[in-house]
């Protein structure tokens, strides 16, 4: 149900906050065993929050999030609640502090239903690398949810929360949203504080929102955006009011369609659906402009080198000494941490760490890491040129729809190449939103992405909302 509507129902006492939370908890209890979208369900504290929320509502002191049941990806630190990153390494890690986004929502007394499943340390596009088991797609539980925020997307799709916080480093909000038939917003880099988000790749990571609609993602972003003194890379350029352009005239907008995003490797059904969406906007009166991102061919490699290099460094702190998994093996410091990391990390995380150190190590740095950052500069300027000509860019979110579990997630190269349509947005630090624009012959959702200028989430939310208003989604089976 739309957040605005839920807000109204709570405020007008059509439903009590405790009852609402209990409904979600009951549904989680009943159906999540089929989906595995949650790692931790906070039943007790959620009801406690709901009770407090009701008091605030009764006192007429409710804020935008008071009593709204929301799920949180398990790489966002929550004080006193396990934050595992879906890794054995952090299986029992309990942070002594809250992420800024949690602090902000807590001010309103939101209801945190639980912590959602994901790819280990957010590295992956299937949500199958979780130490706690893979997440299953609510549209077809034999299929993947995409990832890494697969639990977040599935929890929204299956109606196991009103909205979800995820994180997006190379498509981790948009791609699972696309696979699960919901809406995923990746804000501009710096729009949302990263304080408390367990880092994968610091220069690319951004907390995002997965919800039922573009309007809902804007609603949640209004609650979590903003400069934060705790994050030196957070920005003062955001002003909120993310849903303020919804309902306005979008027919004067210019929509760029980059030819490189519709070439080889794009599934025909996906291509057809996305081009149908382009046609929809054309019918509205929008000007459709052919644009080009010539360096797209370098994007996947540059993305993997940069993100893995940062990850190798960011994940070095996991040594079993201060927190996290500590091996029983190892006579000396070196052996102890090597064994702790061997047993604590899954194989995809190890591959990324190895790749990252390859990119950074002596003799390879210039050819790999440094060149990747040159490509980064180049992609940013190519995007700048595109946004000189158009207001929004429209692309497919992923080359395919959700595939069968076990079909491709064990082939790293295949997995990496599938990120082609999402990673440039992170490399350029831009905002993007993915929404469902069709279904394939198996009934699986097809996603398209709208990419905007930096800090112009408003426009892509409004453009996305317009499409959603005229598009009929199919309910998932669960």
């Amino acid at each position: 149900m739309a957040l605005k509507k839920l807000r109204k129902m709570l405020d007008e006492k059509e439903i009590g906050a405790v009852e609402l939370t209990r409904r979600y908890l009951d549904k989680i209890e009943k159906t999540d065993k089929n989906v595995n979208s949650y790692i931790t369900v906070c039943a007790e504290s959620a009801l406690e929050s709901a009770k407090k929320a009701q008091e605030l509502i009764d006192a007429g002191e409710a804020g935008a999030f008071t009593g709204l049941p929301i799920s949180v990806k398990d790489n966002i630190c929550t004080m006193g609640v396990k934050t595992t990153c879906a890794s054995r390494m952090l299986e029992d890690f309990v942070p002594p502090y809250d992420a800024t986004v949690i602090e902000k929502l807590k001010k309103d007394n939101f209801v945190m239903l639980g912590k959602t499943n994901m790819d280990e340390f957010a590295m992956g596009g299937s949500s199958q690398t979780s130490y706690f088991g893979g997440v299953k797609n609510p549209y077809d539980t034999s299929r993947v949810t995409g990832g890494s925020s697969g639990g977040a997307a599935a929890s929204v799709a299956a109606g196991l929360c009103a909205a979800a916080l995820g994180s997006d480093t190379g498509g981790s909000v948009r791609q699972p949203a696309s696979f699960c038939g919901v809406t995923g917003l990746k804000p501009t880099y710096g729009a949302v504080s990263r304080w408390g988000l367990i880092a994968f790749a610091s220069s690319l990571d951004q907390i995002g929102v997965i919800a039922e609609s573009a309007e809902d993602t804007g609603y949640v972003l209004d609650g979590i955006y903003g400069y934060d003194a705790n994050d030196a890379t957070s920005s003062k350029k955001s002003y909120g009011n993310y849903t303020s352009l919804i309902g306005g005239d979008i027919s004067k907008l210019k929509i760029g369609v980059p030819k490189e995003f519709f070439g080889d490797g794009l599934n025909d059904e996906v291509k057809t659906a996305v081009l149908r969406a382009v046609e929809y906007y054309k019918q509205l009166g929008c000007e459709i402009i052919d644009v080009s991102l010539p360096s797209l061919e370098y994007a996947v490699s540059a993305y993997y080198l940069i993100s893995s290099a940062e990850a190798a460094s960011n994940l070095s702190r996991f040594d079993g000494i201060k927190y996290g998994f500590r091996s029983g093996l190892g006579e000396n410091f070196n052996d102890l941490i090597k064994n702790s990391r061997r047993e604590g990390f899954g194989s995809e995380v190890k591959r990324r760490i190895m790749l990252g150190n390859y990119a950074l190590c002596s003799g390879y740095y210039d050819a790999y890491y440094k060149n990747a950052t040159r490509i980064r500069t180049q992609l940013r300027s190519e995007y700048a040129a595109i946004f000189d000509k158009c207001d929004v860019m429209l692309t497919p979110t992923a080359p395919t729809t959700a595939y069968k579990i076990g079909e491709q997630e064990n082939d790293p190269v295949k997995m990496y190449l599938a990120d082609i349509y999402t990673v440039t947005v992170n490399i350029a630090g831009l905002p993007a939103i993915s929404t469902t624009c069709g279904y394939d012959s198996n009934g699986m959702p097809i996603g398209m992405s709208l990419i905007g200028r930096a800090f112009d989430e408003k426009t892509i939310i409004a453009v996305c909302d317009r499409f959603e208003k005229d598009f009929e989604r199919k309910e998932c089976a669960l």
């Binding site: 966002i76 988000l197 070095s316 201060k322 410091f333």
Partner: protein, 472 residues
Amino acid sequence: MRYQPVIGLEIHCELQTDSKVFCTCQNEFGGSENTRVCPRCSGMPGTLPLINQNAVRLAAKAGFATDGTVNNYSAFDRKNYFYPDLPKAYQITQFDHPITTGGYITVFNGNKMRIHHIHIEEDAGKLVHDDYEGISMADYNRCGVPLIEIVTEPDFRSVEEVQDFVEKIALRLKYAGVCDARMEQGSMRVDVNISIMPVGSTEFGTRAEIKNLNSVKAIGRAIEYEINRQAEILDNGGTVIQETRRFNDNHGDTKALRSKEEAHDYRYFPEPDIPPVWLSDEDIAEIKASMPEMPQSRFKRYTEEYGLPADDANLIISSKEFSDFYDEAVKINPDYKQISNLMLVELNRNLNESEKTISDVTFSPADLAELVKMSTDGVVSKNAAKDILKIMFDKGGKPMEIAKNNGFIMDNDASEIEEIVNRVIAENADSVESYKNGNQKIFGFLMGQVIRLAGKGANPKIAKDVLTEKLK
């Protein structure tokens, strides 16, 4: 063969900030284990560094203190390595874009020792080892204490040049308020890179890096040891290997710290969590303007303008507070020599006896300036000035009031003295007789009697003149 050492220095200095460099924990020495720690400096997942403006400021000041160039643009990098005292497993430092570049210090023999650059970084924690249990225990209180590393060129050719440089840079950093430079406490740590080459050669040898030098004396001993060790290797046809060695103060020797196969690859790359820092020309000028006058400049002023002997000038500049006190005093009473004398002799005597420092002194430089003026103007005697200073030192108070209350004001009325002299002569007829018979020594006794009766305020010169006259 005779060898020539070639030496370069890497000096780590803890900055005197209030908070740590990337978090808000207090920057303070010591304390119980892990009591000045937060999620940030203990490397908890999800935390981010926040650079301390004052750390940047003090690092820039270190640049000015050594005549270096403060850069508009400086950036941070990660240095990756695993060690239990480094909770993030990377140290945030500056690699490509340090805060300052260049600079030099001229040492005793007139040679300029060049500084390559100064960069900002964070300190690591401390390990306590338990041999019995075979464990090391990590305390992160020192994690994130701001450091600068001063990297010199390999310009040093002797122990004396190194020691003089270290003493001079320590003094300048103290003056600039950058670092308290206590080598024994580890707030200033000097690593020595040393190689040797045959005298007359211009091709540098392979260097060893010597760590754990906690005094200027230890630096000298370590260098001497290392020169001999390397010379012995070369004389026997061997080759010196590049390695890090640790100086043992008890044995006076150096030992290899880690073996070669563990050679580090630090995988430096730009720190993605900290944007580069931009100092505008105005910022740089403002920081520069806030620098106090450096000791070498004060030395020049004291010797060339004030005419103080070099030894005295060196004594005054050896403490900034002392030098500041002196400068304040001579601003009010430009009697450079007398003020220097009173401070170096009498004030220092009081300080030493009470085991205090100049910062503990409760009277003002103006009080001291006034006291010297009272003495030179003949308001109080020189001896009285010393007594007054002691009272000011012990109990406080203004010199003129002390002089009045304690009868130190010199009585310059000759007629009063004359009466007393007459009385002394009358009461000590034997001594007068003896003096007149040529016993010159007895004059002092008679003089003492006059002063005793006249009190502390007696003007000794007048008393002496009158007594001499009367005894004729």
